[in-house]
Symmetry: C2
Subunit: 271 residues, 2 copies
């Protein structure tokens, strides 16, 4: 099964397009948990236990783990192993490096950790991307139009015919022989998301920015899903995992994950 089919079938089985971002920051997890030996993992474990019925994917942001050095990588390794079978594991790494280096990153994320997909920064071009796309069951989500304010600095540069992000989209088509390549498009750009979906009916799109970054859920579900209301993953990180800072953090995260899953499903059923 290629990666695109995998995304589709997991979303159907989980009846969810929700991706829970595990941006786990030691400074933001509940006080009482920080005393634990592997506090980051304990936090993630509780979040996963509470939300796994509502999630199609988990997406640890690697910066949060790297910031802690070797202990952070151990927490990440345990977290990835703990994510139940049948839910996508996405390494939010935003890597992009020359060919021989990209190969090593692919090895790290797909072999050492058993991630299903990785986010890729396209600035360095084709040879930085292809090493992530060598196996049909492992995928790459290429940054196309990001959710942050700085997305305006370079991604809209245009030659009159095509913006940078549109050129990235065009290249993604050429990299997609194995049907394992997707896009990252921020929910903060609904009109562009609509145009991108129209130009890429068959690509999985990872859509961050609906939680703390205040992207429009209604518009991004309407515009980001394919003609069957599939092939999009909507990520919320801080909006779910830090919704409560108290003892009830996991319970509250579950309620929020369920609410968001249902909200997304309701919108896509109404299209």
């Amino acid at each position: 099964m290629n990666f695109t089919q995998k995304v589709k079938s997991i979303c159907i089985r989980q009846h969810s397009l929700l991706c829970v971002g595990l941006d786990t920051d030691i400074a933001r997890i509940p006080e009482f948990l920080r005393r634990e030996t592997d506090a980051i993992f304990e936090f993630n474990k509780a979040i996963i236990d509470a939300t796994c019925s509502f999630a199609a994917a988990y997406k640890p942001n690697l910066a949060f783990y790297e910031a802690l050095g070797p202990a952070g990588w151990q927490a990440l390794e345990r977290t990835v192993q703990y994510i139940p079978e049948g839910i996508l594991k996405i390494a939010d790494a935003k890597r992009g490096d020359i060919g021989n280096t990209a190969k090593l990153y692919a090895k790290a994320f797909f072999d050492r950790f058993d991630f299903d997909a990785v986010t890729i920064n396209p600035y360095l071009g084709t040879d930085a991307v292809l090493p992530f796309l060598e196996r049909e069951d492992k995928g790459g989500f290429v940054l196309c139009l990001t959710s942050n304010p700085g997305s305006k600095d370079f991604q809209y540069l245009t030659d009159g015919q095509q913006t940078l992000y549109e050129r990235v989209l065009e290249k993604v088509h050429s990299w997609n022989d194995r049907r394992n390549c997707g896009l990252v498009v921020g929910a903060t750009h609904p009109d562009e998301l609509k145009a991108i979906r129209a130009a890429a009916p068959g690509l999985p799109i990872l859509i961050p920015g609906i939680g703390a970054q205040a992207g429009d859920v209604e518009a991004s579900v309407r515009f980001g899903t394919d003609e069957n209301g599939e092939l999009a993953l909507f990520n919320s990180s801080r909006g779910i995992i830090y919704k409560s800072g108290g003892k009830d953090f996991a319970e509250v995260a579950a309620t929020e994950a369920r609410r968001l899953r249902d909200q997304i499903n309701k919108i896509r059923m109404s299209i």
Copy 2:
């Protein structure tokens, strides 16, 4: 002292513009070393001992360490600690992520590891870059025009007035209030390097691609240094550290590092 001054003074004291890339791959280090408990560190230690009289900077490429998981990070930590005072430590990380994430990467590289500088991918724009530039003594080298074949895919996109890499250069000027921001420009693009140096007389430029990637040393030294023959760092990784695969690997690396340092110095003295 700001980062730009730091680069300058280290290069003057070391009488060298050479950066040794520590792209240390367990599969490529000499057979007899692989049996050591921390083979990666032992290899780096020998390379550093042998080359530190000839180097102005060391640049571990983080992919090579990440590929090994927690043990790789430990090897990286030990390596960075082992680099002598007075030589620059550059994390070749090519990171770029939204503001709150970039902050964590900055913390990882500058606090946890004591790196002097980090390489930054500009695709996400201003808010992905600024967190790396908050301290005047710590620097960021922003990818401008990279050395690999894929650099042609996006970096030359132009609006008729300005290519993407020229827009990156322009932005770097606006990010450089603390005089701690530089560029990465591949030695494989000598003409563009010349134009970039002319437009950025005061920026440190990290120039990869002169070793295994076959960039032109003569042209890149001539065009990449500033009016005083300073402010550029020329990186070779594989061309130095894997020059010999035998017991004499460190000795041969030293000979090659010295040769390259001298070659660079001879060219810049002749300008």
